[in-house]
């Protein structure tokens, strides 16, 4: 299955970006084959509503699970509407959190964080 991780760089050795709406990339990883693809997050350059824009782009990717820091309330709503399960990353490299995920050690987030946690707050 395909899972998305918010990342600062384009490969599995990049650090996880704890921000959702303003992360640089979504790394879309196939959990069986470890094949991955880096997708630009269009939310990173949004004037406002970055979380919504990022979530909309994430839905388009088709991945049904996401590992990130803590999405804000707007992004959470969109991701939830798209049926995406969200898991909280403790930080570290993408490859490390993927291992944690496979071992069932990541906590699922079921409530949104506070608004305007990113850099785009007006």
């Amino acid at each position: 299955m395909q899972i998305g991780v918010t990342a600062a760089g384009k490969d599995l050795e990049s650090v996880v970006d704890s921000r959702f709406g303003r992360c640089a990339y979504f790394l879309l990883v196939d959990t069986e084959t470890q094949e991955y693809e880096a997708v630009n997050n269009p939310g990173s350059s949004a004037g406002g509503g970055a979380g919504i824009k990022a979530a909309q782009a994430f839905l388009k990717s088709g991945a049904k699970a996401l590992i990130t820091g803590q999405p804000g309330p707007n992004a959470f709503k969109v991701l939830a509407a798209g049926g995406v399960k969200i898991f909280q990353a403790p930080g570290g490299k993408v490859s490390e959190v993927l291992d944690l995920y496979k071992n069932g050690e990541l906590k699922e987030i079921t409530t949104p964080g506070g608004p305007n946690r990113g850099h785009g707050s007006r």
Binding site: G49, K53, Q56
Partner: protein, 286 residues
């Protein structure tokens, strides 16, 4: 004639100048309308203590989705530059606080599933402070977009042409300021003789030059350091129309909500003199 009062830096004395100018004109039997266009925190009323007689709601259009027609194609969300819409399979979400009310989503929807609803974001209030006609806009707390309220305020100015209109603008040079000062006949730039005052005055000067509004400077809290402003004005060929000295008398009156020209009538003459100079320099002068 429309005179807008603005500054780059906040707290330089825009409202002080607006209110005292209004009082001075009214004192000479001029018909005057003071418009507090600092809709995020209007405060001219604290000095003028007007009787507000009318309160008109200001609304902006927001989208509403007809669930029977929507097939979740996502065209609306794709179009929206402000990310006020998002579409998932079987769900269209609206984030009204991000909507600028452009109506584009209604136009691009291929199924006619997006309709226009309205949302109240503030009010325009009208009244009188003795013989001064007084209007102000108030943006509801938590609303991010001030411009629609300012625009509503200004849309009715055409009906007050017999008045000298003074617009008390917000600080800075952002969209709400541009909306407040555009189409003015003259801009009074209020500043203070500090490096910050000068820095932000330079930005405000660029803005009014760009908008093509004739302008002059008022130095508030004037004193020994005036050179920092007067040199800039000389360089840029901008007249300094009034200096309000830094004095504890004026400050203490201000701090108790008393416009100083009310108790110190010589200031009414100074403000009226400035008004005459403004009239000469303004774009409506023939």
């Amino acid at each position: 004639m429309i005179i807008s009062v603005l500054s780059g830096k906040g707290g330089t004395g825009k409202t002080t100048v607006s209110v005292n100018l209004a009082i001075s004109l009214a004192g000479k039997d001029e018909k005057v309308l003071l418009v507090d266009a600092d809709v995020e925190e209007p405060n001219a009323g604290l000095y003028l203590k007007p009787m507000l007689e009318e309160s008109l709601p200001v609304s902006i259009p927001v989208p509403k989705i007809d669930r029977d027609r929507c097939d979740y194609c996502g065209e609306c969300a794709n179009f929206c530059q402000f990310n006020a819409l998002a579409v998932a399979e079987g769900a269209a979400l609206i984030f009204p606080e991000l909507c600028h009310g452009c109506g584009g989503c209604v136009l691009v929807c291929p199924k006619d599933a997006v309709q226009e609803d309205t949302r109240e974001i503030g009010v325009v209030e009208k009244g009188w402070a003795d013989s001064i006609k007084f209007w102000q806009g108030r943006l509801n707390i938590g609303e991010p977009f001030a411009v629609p309220v300012t625009r509503h305020l200004k849309s009715e100015l055409a009906n007050s042409k017999e008045h000298t209109i003074i617009i008390d603008s917000p600080a800075g040079v952002s969209c709400p300021v541009i909306e407040a000062v555009r189409d003015s006949d003259f801009a009074l730039l209020v500043t203070e003789p500090t490096p910050f005052g000068r820095h932000d005055l330079e930005i405000a000067l660029k803005m009014v030059e760009h908008l093509g509004i004739p302008h002059g400077v008022v130095i508030n809290r004037a004193g020994e350091d005036n050179k920092i402003i007067s040199e800039l004005c000389q360089e840029r060929n901008v007249p300094v129309l009034l200096e309000i000295e830094f004095s504890s008398r004026l400050a203490s009156l201000g701090s108790t909500g008393v416009p100083f020209s009310k108790v110190l009538p010589e200031w009414q003459d100074k403000f009226f003199e400035m008004y005459q100079a403004v009239k000469e320099g303004c774009s409506c002068a023939s």
